[in-house]
Symmetry: C2
Protein backbone atom coordinates (compact mmCIF):
# COMPACT_ATOMS: atom_id res chain seq x y z
CA UNK A 1 0.00 0.00 0.00
CA UNK A 2 0.98 3.65 -0.29
CA UNK A 3 2.51 5.06 2.90
CA UNK A 4 4.68 7.87 4.29
CA UNK A 5 7.39 6.14 6.30
CA UNK A 6 10.12 7.61 8.51
CA UNK A 7 13.28 5.53 8.71
CA UNK A 8 16.09 8.01 9.39
CA UNK A 9 14.57 9.89 6.47
CA UNK A 10 11.02 10.49 5.32
CA UNK A 11 10.04 8.26 2.38
CA UNK A 12 6.96 7.82 0.21
CA UNK A 13 6.56 4.09 -0.47
CA UNK A 14 4.01 2.29 -2.64
CA UNK A 15 4.74 -1.26 -1.52
CA UNK A 16 4.38 -1.01 2.27
CA UNK A 17 2.54 -4.08 3.62
CA UNK A 18 -1.13 -3.64 4.56
CA UNK A 19 -1.42 -4.06 8.37
CA UNK A 20 -3.31 -7.09 9.69
CA UNK A 21 -5.76 -6.28 12.49
CA UNK A 22 -5.43 -8.18 15.79
CA UNK A 23 -8.57 -9.81 17.22
CA UNK A 24 -9.69 -6.64 19.02
CA UNK A 25 -8.71 -4.30 16.19
CA UNK A 26 -10.53 -2.76 13.26
CA UNK A 27 -9.03 -2.37 9.79
CA UNK A 28 -9.64 1.20 8.70
CA UNK A 29 -9.29 2.59 5.18
CA UNK A 30 -7.79 6.02 5.78
CA UNK A 31 -9.35 8.88 3.81
CA UNK A 32 -7.69 12.03 5.21
CA UNK A 33 -4.93 12.72 7.74
CA UNK A 34 -3.37 15.88 9.23
CA UNK A 35 0.32 16.65 9.68
CA UNK A 36 1.06 17.61 13.29
CA UNK A 37 4.14 19.34 14.73
CA UNK A 38 4.90 16.07 16.50
CA UNK A 39 5.26 14.39 13.08
CA UNK A 40 7.78 17.06 12.09
CA UNK A 41 9.65 16.68 15.42
CA UNK A 42 9.82 12.90 14.83
CA UNK A 43 11.63 13.56 11.56
CA UNK A 44 14.18 15.46 13.72
CA UNK A 45 14.66 12.52 16.07
CA UNK A 46 11.89 12.98 18.64
CA UNK A 47 10.83 9.66 20.25
CA UNK A 48 13.29 7.73 18.04
CA UNK A 49 10.26 6.44 16.10
CA UNK A 50 10.56 4.50 12.85
CA UNK A 51 7.59 3.45 10.73
CA UNK A 52 4.46 4.95 9.20
CA UNK A 53 3.89 8.45 10.61
CA UNK A 54 0.55 10.09 11.34
CA UNK A 55 -1.95 10.11 14.20
CA UNK A 56 -4.60 12.65 13.15
CA UNK A 57 -6.92 10.94 10.67
CA UNK A 58 -10.38 9.95 9.58
CA UNK A 59 -11.24 6.75 7.76
CA UNK A 60 -13.86 4.11 7.01
CA UNK A 61 -13.97 0.80 8.90
CA UNK A 62 -13.60 -2.17 6.52
CA UNK A 63 -13.11 -5.03 8.99
CA UNK A 64 -14.24 -5.18 12.62
CA UNK A 65 -15.56 -7.72 15.12
CA UNK A 66 -18.14 -5.13 16.21
CA UNK A 67 -20.34 -5.08 13.10
CA UNK A 68 -21.91 -1.73 14.10
CA UNK A 69 -18.69 -0.06 12.96
CA UNK A 70 -18.59 -1.63 9.47
CA UNK A 71 -18.66 1.01 6.75
CA UNK A 72 -18.74 3.81 9.30
CA UNK A 73 -16.50 6.89 9.26
CA UNK A 74 -14.35 7.01 12.38
CA UNK A 75 -11.60 8.91 14.15
CA UNK A 76 -9.52 7.23 16.84
CA UNK A 77 -7.75 7.81 20.13
CA UNK A 78 -4.07 7.22 19.59
CA UNK A 79 -2.89 5.51 22.81
CA UNK A 80 -3.02 1.70 22.98
CA UNK A 81 -2.71 0.55 26.61
CA UNK A 82 -2.04 -2.99 27.82
CA UNK A 83 -5.50 -3.11 29.41
CA UNK A 84 -4.21 -4.81 32.56
CA UNK A 85 -2.00 -2.40 34.54
CA UNK A 86 -3.08 0.06 37.25
CA UNK A 87 -3.15 2.93 34.71
CA UNK A 88 -5.37 1.00 32.29
CA UNK A 89 -7.70 -0.14 35.08
CA UNK A 90 -8.01 3.42 36.42
CA UNK A 91 -9.09 5.17 33.22
CA UNK A 92 -5.55 6.31 32.53
CA UNK A 93 -4.93 4.10 29.51
CA UNK A 94 -3.15 7.06 27.87
CA UNK A 95 -0.48 6.67 30.56
CA UNK A 96 0.03 2.89 30.46
CA UNK A 97 3.80 2.39 30.68
CA UNK A 98 3.50 -0.46 28.19
CA UNK A 99 1.46 1.52 25.67
CA UNK A 100 2.07 2.03 22.01
CA UNK A 101 1.04 5.28 20.35
CA UNK A 102 -0.22 5.58 16.79
CA UNK A 103 2.56 6.83 14.53
CA UNK A 104 4.66 7.88 17.55
CA UNK A 105 5.66 4.81 19.55
CA UNK A 106 5.80 1.16 18.40
CA UNK A 107 2.70 1.41 16.18
CA UNK A 108 2.43 2.26 12.52
CA UNK A 109 0.45 5.42 11.93
CA UNK A 110 -2.22 6.74 9.61
CA UNK A 111 -0.26 8.27 6.71
CA UNK A 112 -1.05 5.10 4.74
CA UNK A 113 -3.95 3.54 2.87
CA UNK A 114 -4.83 1.37 5.87
CA UNK A 115 -4.41 1.56 9.61
CA UNK A 116 -5.44 -0.82 12.42
CA UNK A 117 -6.64 0.21 15.86
CA UNK A 118 -8.49 -1.39 18.79
CA UNK A 119 -12.26 -1.00 18.49
CA UNK A 120 -12.37 0.71 21.92
CA UNK A 121 -10.27 3.55 20.49
CA UNK A 122 -12.78 4.39 17.72
CA UNK A 123 -15.32 7.22 17.64
CA UNK A 124 -17.96 7.46 14.92
CA UNK A 125 -18.15 10.77 13.09
CA UNK A 126 -21.56 12.32 12.31
CA UNK A 127 -22.35 13.07 8.64
CA UNK A 128 -22.47 16.80 9.35
CA UNK A 129 -18.70 16.79 9.94
CA UNK A 130 -16.54 16.74 6.79
CA UNK A 131 -13.39 14.65 6.43
CA UNK A 132 -11.23 17.79 6.55
CA UNK A 133 -12.87 18.81 9.81
CA UNK A 134 -12.63 15.31 11.28
CA UNK A 135 -8.82 15.25 11.12
CA UNK A 136 -8.93 18.05 13.71
CA UNK A 137 -10.69 15.91 16.33
CA UNK A 138 -7.45 14.54 17.80
CA UNK A 139 -5.64 17.90 18.24
CA UNK A 140 -8.88 19.56 19.37
CA UNK A 141 -9.27 16.85 22.03
CA UNK A 142 -5.75 17.75 23.21
CA UNK A 143 -6.98 21.32 23.60
CA UNK A 144 -9.98 20.15 25.66
CA UNK A 145 -7.60 18.24 27.95
CA UNK A 146 -6.58 21.63 29.38
CA UNK A 147 -10.15 22.39 30.45
CA UNK A 148 -10.24 19.14 32.42
CA UNK A 149 -6.87 19.77 34.08
CA UNK A 150 -7.03 23.46 34.94
CA UNK A 151 -9.97 25.14 36.58
CA UNK A 152 -10.38 28.40 34.68
CA UNK A 153 -12.55 31.09 36.25
CA UNK A 154 -14.15 34.06 34.54
CA UNK A 155 -11.80 36.47 36.34
CA UNK A 156 -8.63 34.64 35.26
CA UNK A 157 -6.31 36.45 32.84
CA UNK A 158 -5.25 33.68 30.47
CA UNK A 159 -2.61 33.83 27.74
CA UNK A 160 -2.35 31.31 24.92
CA UNK A 161 1.23 31.54 23.72
CA UNK A 162 1.88 30.51 20.12
CA UNK A 163 -0.21 31.01 16.99
CA UNK A 164 0.47 27.70 15.31
CA UNK A 165 -2.13 25.03 14.60
CA UNK A 166 -2.47 23.94 18.22
CA UNK A 167 -2.37 27.49 19.62
CA UNK A 168 -5.27 28.57 17.40
CA UNK A 169 -7.34 25.56 18.49
CA UNK A 170 -6.49 26.02 22.16
CA UNK A 171 -7.36 29.73 22.04
CA UNK A 172 -10.82 28.92 20.65
CA UNK A 173 -11.44 26.25 23.29
CA UNK A 174 -10.26 28.49 26.14
CA UNK A 175 -12.40 31.36 24.81
CA UNK A 176 -15.44 29.11 25.16
CA UNK A 177 -14.55 28.55 28.84
CA UNK A 178 -15.12 32.25 29.55
CA UNK A 179 -12.14 34.21 30.90
CA UNK A 180 -9.98 37.23 30.07
CA UNK A 181 -8.12 35.69 27.14
CA UNK A 182 -5.17 36.99 25.15
CA UNK A 183 -3.60 35.01 22.33
CA UNK A 184 -0.01 36.03 21.69
CA UNK A 185 2.00 34.96 18.67
CA UNK A 186 4.44 36.12 16.05
CA UNK A 187 2.34 36.01 12.87
CA UNK A 188 -0.20 38.75 12.28
CA UNK A 189 -1.92 36.72 9.54
CA UNK A 190 -2.41 33.71 11.80
CA UNK A 191 -3.64 35.80 14.71
CA UNK A 192 -6.13 37.46 12.36
CA UNK A 193 -8.07 34.18 12.37
CA UNK A 194 -8.67 34.76 16.09
CA UNK A 195 -9.30 38.48 15.61
CA UNK A 196 -12.15 37.50 13.27
CA UNK A 197 -13.96 35.71 16.09
CA UNK A 198 -13.34 38.44 18.63
CA UNK A 199 -10.39 37.03 20.56
CA UNK A 200 -7.92 39.61 21.88
CA UNK A 201 -4.53 39.02 20.19
CA UNK A 202 -1.06 40.48 20.38
CA UNK A 203 2.41 40.12 18.90
CA UNK A 204 5.40 39.10 21.01
CA UNK A 205 6.79 42.57 21.69
CA UNK A 206 3.54 43.46 23.43
CA UNK A 207 4.41 41.11 26.31
CA UNK A 208 4.04 42.37 29.81
CA UNK A 209 5.75 40.79 32.80
CA UNK A 210 3.77 39.04 35.55
CA UNK A 211 0.44 39.76 33.84
CA UNK A 212 -1.32 36.41 33.49
CA UNK A 213 -2.86 33.96 35.98
CA UNK A 214 -2.54 31.14 33.44
CA UNK A 215 -0.19 30.87 30.45
CA UNK A 216 -0.63 28.01 27.98
CA UNK A 217 2.55 27.29 26.02
CA UNK A 218 1.63 26.08 22.53
CA UNK A 219 4.70 27.56 20.87
CA UNK A 220 6.38 24.28 20.02
CA UNK A 221 9.62 26.11 20.79
CA UNK A 222 12.13 25.92 23.65
CA UNK A 223 11.67 29.66 24.12
CA UNK A 224 8.01 29.16 25.02
CA UNK A 225 8.55 28.04 28.60
CA UNK A 226 11.01 30.87 29.20
CA UNK A 227 8.54 33.44 27.90
CA UNK A 228 5.77 31.85 29.97
CA UNK A 229 7.87 32.16 33.13
CA UNK A 230 8.28 35.85 32.40
CA UNK A 231 4.64 36.75 31.75
CA UNK A 232 2.93 34.58 34.37
CA UNK A 233 2.02 36.11 37.73
CA UNK A 234 3.58 34.85 40.98
CA UNK A 235 1.64 31.76 42.09
CA UNK A 236 0.31 31.53 38.54
CA UNK A 237 0.06 28.42 36.39
CA UNK A 238 1.76 27.43 33.15
CA UNK A 239 0.21 24.70 31.00
CA UNK A 240 2.85 23.04 28.84
CA UNK A 241 1.71 21.61 25.50
CA UNK A 242 5.05 21.96 23.72
CA UNK A 243 7.11 18.84 23.02
CA UNK A 244 10.45 19.22 21.32
CA UNK A 245 13.25 16.89 20.35
CA UNK A 246 15.96 18.51 22.49
CA UNK A 247 16.48 19.17 26.17
CA UNK A 248 16.02 22.74 27.36
CA UNK A 249 18.20 24.82 29.68
CA UNK A 250 15.91 26.29 32.30
CA UNK A 251 16.34 28.44 35.38
CA UNK A 252 14.22 26.24 37.64
CA UNK A 253 14.66 28.78 40.48
CA UNK A 254 11.92 30.87 38.84
CA UNK A 255 9.37 28.16 39.66
CA UNK A 256 10.47 28.15 43.31
CA UNK A 257 10.93 31.89 43.85
CA UNK A 258 7.62 32.84 42.22
CA UNK A 259 5.85 29.64 43.32
CA UNK A 260 4.75 28.94 39.75
CA UNK A 261 2.93 25.70 38.91
CA UNK A 262 3.63 23.88 35.66
CA UNK A 263 1.04 21.45 34.31
CA UNK A 264 2.03 19.10 31.50
CA UNK A 265 -0.83 18.36 29.09
CA UNK A 266 -1.07 15.80 26.30
CA UNK A 267 -3.96 13.88 24.73
CA UNK A 268 -7.55 14.68 25.59
CA UNK A 269 -11.18 13.56 25.43
CA UNK A 270 -12.64 13.06 21.93
CA UNK A 271 -16.34 13.55 22.64
CA UNK A 272 -16.20 17.28 23.59
CA UNK A 273 -14.08 17.85 20.47
CA UNK A 274 -16.57 16.07 18.18
CA UNK A 275 -19.45 17.94 19.82
CA UNK A 276 -17.70 21.32 19.40
CA UNK A 277 -17.09 20.69 15.68
CA UNK A 278 -20.64 19.46 15.10
CA UNK A 279 -22.11 22.52 16.82
CA UNK A 280 -19.79 24.87 14.86
CA UNK A 281 -18.25 26.25 18.06
CA UNK A 282 -14.81 25.99 16.52
CA UNK A 283 -14.00 27.38 13.09
CA UNK A 284 -11.64 24.92 11.40
CA UNK A 285 -11.48 25.75 7.67
CA UNK A 286 -9.37 28.91 8.16
CA UNK A 287 -6.80 26.65 9.83
CA UNK A 288 -6.22 24.53 6.70
CA UNK A 289 -3.21 25.65 4.67
CA UNK A 290 -3.51 23.05 1.92
CA UNK A 291 -4.60 19.51 1.01
CA UNK A 292 -2.11 17.26 -0.81
CA UNK A 293 -2.57 13.74 -2.18
CA UNK A 294 -0.44 11.27 -0.22
CA UNK A 295 1.70 10.82 -3.34
CA UNK A 296 2.93 14.37 -2.69
CA UNK A 297 3.57 13.61 0.99
CA UNK A 298 7.19 14.85 1.00
CA UNK A 299 6.06 18.15 -0.49
CA UNK A 300 3.27 18.29 2.08
CA UNK A 301 5.82 17.88 4.90
CA UNK A 302 7.96 20.65 3.43
CA UNK A 303 4.89 22.90 3.37
CA UNK A 304 3.92 21.92 6.95
CA UNK A 305 7.45 22.78 8.13
CA UNK A 306 7.19 26.39 6.93
CA UNK A 307 6.71 28.97 9.67
CA UNK A 308 3.80 30.42 7.71
CA UNK A 309 1.96 27.08 7.49
CA UNK A 310 -1.07 25.99 9.46
CA UNK A 311 -2.69 22.55 9.07
CA UNK A 312 -1.54 20.61 6.02
CA UNK A 313 -3.84 17.69 5.21
CA UNK A 314 -3.08 14.53 3.22
CA UNK A 315 -5.82 13.07 1.02
CA UNK A 316 -5.16 9.35 1.04
CA UNK A 317 -8.15 7.47 -0.42
CA UNK B 1 29.50 45.47 64.88
CA UNK B 2 30.56 41.89 64.21
CA UNK B 3 29.10 40.47 60.96
CA UNK B 4 29.54 37.75 58.33
CA UNK B 5 29.57 39.58 55.01
CA UNK B 6 29.65 38.21 51.46
CA UNK B 7 31.35 40.47 48.94
CA UNK B 8 32.70 38.14 46.25
CA UNK B 9 34.13 36.24 49.22
CA UNK B 10 32.84 35.48 52.68
CA UNK B 11 34.39 37.73 55.34
CA UNK B 12 34.13 38.06 59.11
CA UNK B 13 34.19 41.77 59.95
CA UNK B 14 34.18 43.48 63.35
CA UNK B 15 33.58 47.04 62.16
CA UNK B 16 30.42 46.67 60.07
CA UNK B 17 28.05 49.60 60.75
CA UNK B 18 25.05 48.92 63.01
CA UNK B 19 21.88 49.23 60.86
CA UNK B 20 19.50 52.10 61.62
CA UNK B 21 15.83 51.07 61.73
CA UNK B 22 13.35 52.90 59.46
CA UNK B 23 10.18 54.30 61.05
CA UNK B 24 8.25 51.02 60.69
CA UNK B 25 11.20 48.83 61.65
CA UNK B 26 12.45 47.26 64.87
CA UNK B 27 16.11 47.04 65.84
CA UNK B 28 16.78 43.47 66.90
CA UNK B 29 19.82 42.19 68.79
CA UNK B 30 20.48 38.83 67.17
CA UNK B 31 21.20 35.94 69.54
CA UNK B 32 21.33 32.87 67.27
CA UNK B 33 21.12 32.26 63.53
CA UNK B 34 21.12 29.16 61.29
CA UNK B 35 23.11 28.58 58.10
CA UNK B 36 20.81 27.56 55.22
CA UNK B 37 21.72 25.98 51.89
CA UNK B 38 20.63 29.25 50.27
CA UNK B 39 23.43 31.03 52.18
CA UNK B 40 25.92 28.55 50.76
CA UNK B 41 24.47 28.95 47.24
CA UNK B 42 24.81 32.74 47.58
CA UNK B 43 28.54 32.27 48.20
CA UNK B 44 28.55 30.47 44.80
CA UNK B 45 26.86 33.39 43.05
CA UNK B 46 23.16 32.70 43.58
CA UNK B 47 21.06 35.90 43.49
CA UNK B 48 24.21 38.01 43.03
CA UNK B 49 23.76 39.18 46.62
CA UNK B 50 26.36 41.23 48.49
CA UNK B 51 26.09 42.17 52.17
CA UNK B 52 25.41 40.53 55.52
CA UNK B 53 24.16 36.96 54.97
CA UNK B 54 21.59 35.12 57.09
CA UNK B 55 17.80 34.88 57.21
CA UNK B 56 17.11 32.22 59.87
CA UNK B 57 17.49 33.85 63.28
CA UNK B 58 16.13 34.68 66.68
CA UNK B 59 16.84 37.85 68.60
CA UNK B 60 15.62 40.37 71.16
CA UNK B 61 13.89 43.62 70.17
CA UNK B 62 15.80 46.66 71.44
CA UNK B 63 14.03 49.49 69.62
CA UNK B 64 10.49 49.47 68.22
CA UNK B 65 7.57 51.87 67.73
CA UNK B 66 5.26 49.10 68.99
CA UNK B 67 6.29 49.01 72.65
CA UNK B 68 4.73 45.56 73.16
CA UNK B 69 7.72 44.10 71.32
CA UNK B 70 10.42 45.77 73.46
CA UNK B 71 12.65 43.20 75.17
CA UNK B 72 10.76 40.32 73.54
CA UNK B 73 12.38 37.39 71.73
CA UNK B 74 11.30 37.31 68.10
CA UNK B 75 11.77 35.51 64.81
CA UNK B 76 10.86 37.25 61.53
CA UNK B 77 9.44 36.68 58.08
CA UNK B 78 12.14 37.50 55.58
CA UNK B 79 10.27 39.17 52.69
CA UNK B 80 9.83 42.97 52.78
CA UNK B 81 7.14 44.03 50.30
CA UNK B 82 6.42 47.58 49.12
CA UNK B 83 3.01 47.46 50.83
CA UNK B 84 1.27 49.14 47.91
CA UNK B 85 1.25 46.82 44.87
CA UNK B 86 -1.39 44.22 43.95
CA UNK B 87 0.68 41.43 45.51
CA UNK B 88 1.08 43.29 48.81
CA UNK B 89 -2.61 44.22 48.89
CA UNK B 90 -3.65 40.61 48.21
CA UNK B 91 -1.74 38.90 51.00
CA UNK B 92 1.08 37.97 48.65
CA UNK B 93 3.69 40.28 50.12
CA UNK B 94 6.25 37.47 49.67
CA UNK B 95 5.80 37.95 45.91
CA UNK B 96 5.98 41.75 45.69
CA UNK B 97 8.14 42.48 42.63
CA UNK B 98 9.72 45.37 44.51
CA UNK B 99 10.53 43.36 47.64
CA UNK B 100 13.79 42.97 49.43
CA UNK B 101 14.61 39.70 51.18
CA UNK B 102 16.61 39.42 54.38
CA UNK B 103 20.19 38.40 53.60
CA UNK B 104 19.22 37.39 50.04
CA UNK B 105 18.10 40.46 48.10
CA UNK B 106 18.87 44.13 48.81
CA UNK B 107 18.68 43.78 52.60
CA UNK B 108 21.42 43.01 55.10
CA UNK B 109 20.81 39.75 56.91
CA UNK B 110 21.03 38.33 60.41
CA UNK B 111 24.60 37.01 60.66
CA UNK B 112 25.45 40.18 62.59
CA UNK B 113 24.99 41.61 66.05
CA UNK B 114 22.00 43.66 64.93
CA UNK B 115 19.35 43.39 62.24
CA UNK B 116 16.40 45.62 61.36
CA UNK B 117 13.02 44.43 60.10
CA UNK B 118 9.50 45.86 59.76
CA UNK B 119 7.39 45.25 62.85
CA UNK B 120 4.75 43.45 60.75
CA UNK B 121 7.35 40.77 59.95
CA UNK B 122 7.98 39.86 63.61
CA UNK B 123 6.62 36.90 65.55
CA UNK B 124 7.10 36.59 69.30
CA UNK B 125 8.58 33.31 70.51
CA UNK B 126 7.16 31.60 73.62
CA UNK B 127 9.56 30.90 76.49
CA UNK B 128 9.14 27.15 76.05
CA UNK B 129 11.04 27.35 72.74
CA UNK B 130 14.83 27.61 73.04
CA UNK B 131 16.97 29.87 70.86
CA UNK B 132 18.41 26.87 69.02
CA UNK B 133 14.88 25.67 68.22
CA UNK B 134 13.70 29.15 67.23
CA UNK B 135 16.21 29.42 64.36
CA UNK B 136 14.28 26.55 62.74
CA UNK B 137 11.02 28.51 62.53
CA UNK B 138 11.83 30.02 59.13
CA UNK B 139 12.80 26.77 57.35
CA UNK B 140 10.00 24.90 59.11
CA UNK B 141 7.53 27.50 57.84
CA UNK B 142 8.86 26.77 54.32
CA UNK B 143 7.98 23.12 54.93
CA UNK B 144 4.44 24.08 56.01
CA UNK B 145 4.05 26.06 52.77
CA UNK B 146 3.75 22.69 50.98
CA UNK B 147 0.73 21.70 53.09
CA UNK B 148 -1.05 24.88 52.02
CA UNK B 149 -0.20 24.40 48.34
CA UNK B 150 -0.76 20.69 47.81
CA UNK B 151 -3.78 18.80 49.04
CA UNK B 152 -2.38 15.56 50.46
CA UNK B 153 -4.81 12.72 51.09
CA UNK B 154 -4.29 9.70 53.33
CA UNK B 155 -4.10 7.39 50.31
CA UNK B 156 -1.36 9.41 48.56
CA UNK B 157 2.05 7.82 48.21
CA UNK B 158 4.41 10.71 48.94
CA UNK B 159 8.19 10.77 48.59
CA UNK B 160 10.42 13.38 50.21
CA UNK B 161 13.59 13.39 48.17
CA UNK B 162 16.74 14.55 49.94
CA UNK B 163 17.89 14.00 53.52
CA UNK B 164 19.45 17.40 54.15
CA UNK B 165 18.22 19.92 56.68
CA UNK B 166 15.13 20.90 54.71
CA UNK B 167 14.31 17.33 53.67
CA UNK B 168 14.28 16.15 57.28
CA UNK B 169 11.97 19.01 58.30
CA UNK B 170 9.67 18.50 55.31
CA UNK B 171 9.42 14.75 55.97
CA UNK B 172 8.30 15.39 59.55
CA UNK B 173 5.72 17.96 58.45
CA UNK B 174 4.35 15.72 55.70
CA UNK B 175 4.21 12.77 58.12
CA UNK B 176 1.93 14.83 60.34
CA UNK B 177 -0.42 15.34 57.35
CA UNK B 178 -1.13 11.60 57.24
CA UNK B 179 -0.20 9.77 54.04
CA UNK B 180 1.97 6.89 52.79
CA UNK B 181 5.31 8.63 53.19
CA UNK B 182 8.78 7.53 52.12
CA UNK B 183 11.87 9.67 52.70
CA UNK B 184 14.65 8.88 50.27
CA UNK B 185 18.19 10.15 50.63
CA UNK B 186 21.83 9.21 50.33
CA UNK B 187 22.98 9.29 53.97
CA UNK B 188 22.00 6.42 56.23
CA UNK B 189 22.96 8.41 59.35
CA UNK B 190 20.72 11.34 58.40
CA UNK B 191 17.81 9.10 57.47
CA UNK B 192 18.17 7.37 60.85
CA UNK B 193 16.77 10.55 62.46
CA UNK B 194 13.53 9.82 60.57
CA UNK B 195 13.71 6.07 61.27
CA UNK B 196 13.70 6.96 64.99
CA UNK B 197 10.28 8.57 64.67
CA UNK B 198 8.85 5.80 62.54
CA UNK B 199 9.11 7.32 59.05
CA UNK B 200 9.76 4.86 56.23
CA UNK B 201 13.16 5.68 54.67
CA UNK B 202 15.27 4.41 51.79
CA UNK B 203 18.56 5.01 50.02
CA UNK B 204 18.75 6.16 46.40
CA UNK B 205 19.24 2.75 44.75
CA UNK B 206 15.93 1.62 46.18
CA UNK B 207 14.08 3.93 43.78
CA UNK B 208 11.20 2.55 41.84
CA UNK B 209 9.86 4.16 38.69
CA UNK B 210 6.39 5.73 38.58
CA UNK B 211 5.68 4.87 42.21
CA UNK B 212 4.67 8.13 43.92
CA UNK B 213 1.63 10.41 43.63
CA UNK B 214 3.65 13.31 45.05
CA UNK B 215 7.42 13.80 45.09
CA UNK B 216 8.92 16.69 47.06
CA UNK B 217 12.39 17.65 45.82
CA UNK B 218 14.46 18.89 48.76
CA UNK B 219 17.76 17.63 47.36
CA UNK B 220 19.27 21.04 46.68
CA UNK B 221 20.81 19.38 43.63
CA UNK B 222 20.14 19.63 39.89
CA UNK B 223 19.70 15.86 39.85
CA UNK B 224 16.68 16.11 42.15
CA UNK B 225 14.18 17.18 39.52
CA UNK B 226 15.39 14.48 37.14
CA UNK B 227 15.01 11.79 39.82
CA UNK B 228 11.59 13.17 40.72
CA UNK B 229 10.45 12.90 37.08
CA UNK B 230 11.47 9.25 37.12
CA UNK B 231 9.76 8.16 40.34
CA UNK B 232 6.53 10.18 40.10
CA UNK B 233 3.44 8.50 38.66
CA UNK B 234 1.81 9.76 35.46
CA UNK B 235 -0.45 12.71 36.36
CA UNK B 236 1.49 12.94 39.63
CA UNK B 237 2.82 16.10 41.26
CA UNK B 238 6.34 17.28 41.97
CA UNK B 239 6.90 19.96 44.60
CA UNK B 240 10.13 21.85 43.95
CA UNK B 241 11.94 23.29 46.97
CA UNK B 242 15.44 23.19 45.48
CA UNK B 243 17.09 26.44 44.41
CA UNK B 244 20.52 26.29 42.85
CA UNK B 245 22.89 28.80 41.35
CA UNK B 246 23.01 27.30 37.85
CA UNK B 247 20.51 26.57 35.11
CA UNK B 248 19.49 22.94 34.64
CA UNK B 249 19.17 20.93 31.42
CA UNK B 250 15.78 19.26 31.51
CA UNK B 251 13.78 17.05 29.18
CA UNK B 252 10.56 19.05 29.48
CA UNK B 253 8.78 16.47 27.31
CA UNK B 254 8.46 14.27 30.39
CA UNK B 255 6.08 16.81 31.94
CA UNK B 256 3.93 16.78 28.81
CA UNK B 257 3.99 13.06 28.01
CA UNK B 258 3.25 11.97 31.58
CA UNK B 259 1.10 15.02 32.36
CA UNK B 260 3.15 15.77 35.48
CA UNK B 261 2.50 18.91 37.51
CA UNK B 262 5.36 20.86 39.06
CA UNK B 263 4.66 23.18 41.99
CA UNK B 264 7.33 25.65 43.03
CA UNK B 265 7.36 26.28 46.77
CA UNK B 266 9.25 28.91 48.77
CA UNK B 267 8.56 30.70 52.08
CA UNK B 268 5.70 29.68 54.31
CA UNK B 269 3.51 30.60 57.26
CA UNK B 270 5.29 31.12 60.62
CA UNK B 271 2.44 30.39 63.04
CA UNK B 272 2.00 26.65 62.22
CA UNK B 273 5.79 26.28 62.52
CA UNK B 274 5.92 27.98 65.94
CA UNK B 275 2.95 25.89 67.10
CA UNK B 276 4.56 22.64 65.91
CA UNK B 277 7.80 23.41 67.79
CA UNK B 278 5.97 24.45 70.94
CA UNK B 279 3.88 21.26 70.93
CA UNK B 280 7.00 19.10 70.28
CA UNK B 281 5.52 17.73 67.04
CA UNK B 282 8.86 18.22 65.32
CA UNK B 283 12.12 16.97 66.82
CA UNK B 284 14.77 19.61 66.11
CA UNK B 285 17.81 18.89 68.29
CA UNK B 286 18.93 15.84 66.26
CA UNK B 287 19.12 18.20 63.27
CA UNK B 288 21.78 20.44 64.84
CA UNK B 289 25.31 19.54 63.73
CA UNK B 290 27.12 22.19 65.77
CA UNK B 291 26.94 25.68 67.28
CA UNK B 292 29.80 28.11 66.56
CA UNK B 293 30.38 31.63 67.88
CA UNK B 294 30.05 34.16 65.06
CA UNK B 295 33.81 34.85 65.36
CA UNK B 296 34.26 31.34 63.90
CA UNK B 297 31.76 32.04 61.12
CA UNK B 298 34.06 31.02 58.26
CA UNK B 299 34.71 27.70 59.97
CA UNK B 300 30.97 27.32 60.54
CA UNK B 301 30.35 27.83 56.79
CA UNK B 302 32.99 25.22 55.98
CA UNK B 303 31.24 22.79 58.32
CA UNK B 304 27.80 23.61 56.87
CA UNK B 305 29.14 22.92 53.36
CA UNK B 306 30.11 19.34 54.20
CA UNK B 307 27.83 16.66 52.78
CA UNK B 308 27.61 15.11 56.24
CA UNK B 309 26.43 18.33 57.90
CA UNK B 310 22.95 19.21 59.05
CA UNK B 311 22.05 22.55 60.67
CA UNK B 312 25.02 24.63 61.73
CA UNK B 313 24.06 27.43 64.12
CA UNK B 314 25.89 30.68 64.86
CA UNK B 315 25.81 32.06 68.41
CA UNK B 316 26.00 35.79 67.97
CA UNK B 317 25.16 37.52 71.29
Amino acid sequence: MRALVYNNELQYLTDYPVPRPKHDEALIRTTHAGICNTDIEITKGYMGFKGVLGHEFVGVVEKCVDKSFLGKRVVAEINLGCGKCACCRNQMRNHCSDRSVLGILNKDGAFAEYVTLPVRNLHKIPNSITDEEAVFVEPLAAAYEIIGQVGISSSDRVCVLGDGKLGLLVAQVIESAGCKLSAIGRHREKLSILDEIGINTGLSPEFREREFDIVIDCTGSPSGIRTALRIVKPRGRIVLKTTIANKVQIDMNQFVINEISLIGSRCGPFQPAIKAIRSRQIDLYPLISNVYPIEEGLKAFQHASLKSALKVILKIN
